[in-house]
Symmetry: C2
Subunit: 258 residues, 2 copies
Amino acid sequence: MQRISFIGSGNVATHLAMSLKKAGCQIVDICSHTFSNAENLAGRVGAKAIHSYEELDQNIDLCIISVPDHAIVTLVNELKHKKFFVVHTSGSIPMDIFDGKFVDYGVFYPLQTFSKEKPVDFERIPVCIESNNKNKEKGLLELASRLSQMVYQLNSEQRKEIHIAAVFACNFTNHLYGIAQKLLESKQVPFEIIKPLIQETAEKVKDLNPIDAQTGPAVRNDAATMSNHMEILRNENDEYAEIYKLMSESILKNKKGK
Amino acid sequence: MQRISFIGSGNVATHLAMSLKKAGCQIVDICSHTFSNAENLAGRVGAKAIHSYEELDQNIDLCIISVPDHAIVTLVNELKHKKFFVVHTSGSIPMDIFDGKFVDYGVFYPLQTFSKEKPVDFERIPVCIESNNKNKEKGLLELASRLSQMVYQLNSEQRKEIHIAAVFACNFTNHLYGIAQKLLESKQVPFEIIKPLIQETAEKVKDLNPIDAQTGPAVRNDAATMSNHMEILRNENDEYAEIYKLMSESILKNKKGK
């Protein structure tokens, strides 16, 4: 798969297009509703910026749709009956949205949180691929392997579960960091103080299973500390107290050996 | 503060004694109920292993009590009226437990999660200090600064809040990693796949405030994705569904600009 076009010019499209270019692919067209974004990305990867699907070069090996989830279905309906091989990059949209609209289709889902300005090392980003055509799937596998050392052939149900797991391990975790920050700052303690602990907590599960790395009052069933914490939290913020209670109960229930 | 003894020989005592030794201090006695542990640590830092408080050399600059929280109060009662300067290493025990039992006392709390076997770089571990005696506090500050670049003079109320914040940012976060692992493995997806995302999520808040780094369906108020996730979770595990609901509501409520 050598000649590749993109629909979309957001964070995922940007990092993916640049990495594919670097891996030796030719980026043909960048199509985006926001034409200035398309132009910007096209300029960075030597592609052509276009306004409408009608202008898409049909002579390509792959068209990557990388737009927000809520826009994919409409887009696929507008795009249908193009002859090229098409994939989307979403974790939560099943592959079968292409059903009856394209002959060959699939998914190319990089599992990472991207910021436009922060460079990424694609080698260490897991890529989940899937296709209705086994030959095309082999092609995607080969393409993904040129970018990343972690390539997984997974079905739509598995990909959706990954997306849910990512909400827990990434989105909810970040929210816990935010709660920690608010608690600290309410007592004039800088957020800085807890950053090494945050890094070490993430570091630990590189080698340990989370259940073996679990520490704290809940897993020790240290009722005195927990009720003391709950009392303080109830005075400060009911919502945080509720999260404390639910999470502590869940840790205790799932504790090793139970 | 040059001549230092320890009561306790667990993870914190081990890392602290070894780091103080390396920083040029003399470790005098190691006192522990588990004598073999005391012997082991004493051997590593050139100290004397002892059984009972009566054998403690009184001619020291500092005695560091590093035992589980629930054991501290009893220990302090047994130890009282010794003439030396004493500190404990606990985040959640207030300094005033020493009140009326010692003349000079304080706290030396390293904010990190320690595993006995994993070497630590004390330079990057925040140390929170406190003392009832301003001169001794200066001495603790000087001592802590020989180990770490991050030394904070904080009172007991602030230290307790740090401990609660750490429960959120470390213990609860690790539990979320564990939930992610269970969700993935229920669909035969290896935990490996989400590890780069875990690392990146922790990495991001080195430079960004968590509220600015927040991503995911909740902060986007993406009701379709959330209700789809909830439906799947309710079929798999009610407890996880409840956590999903509470955390998502909390993210939405605390969202930037609200």
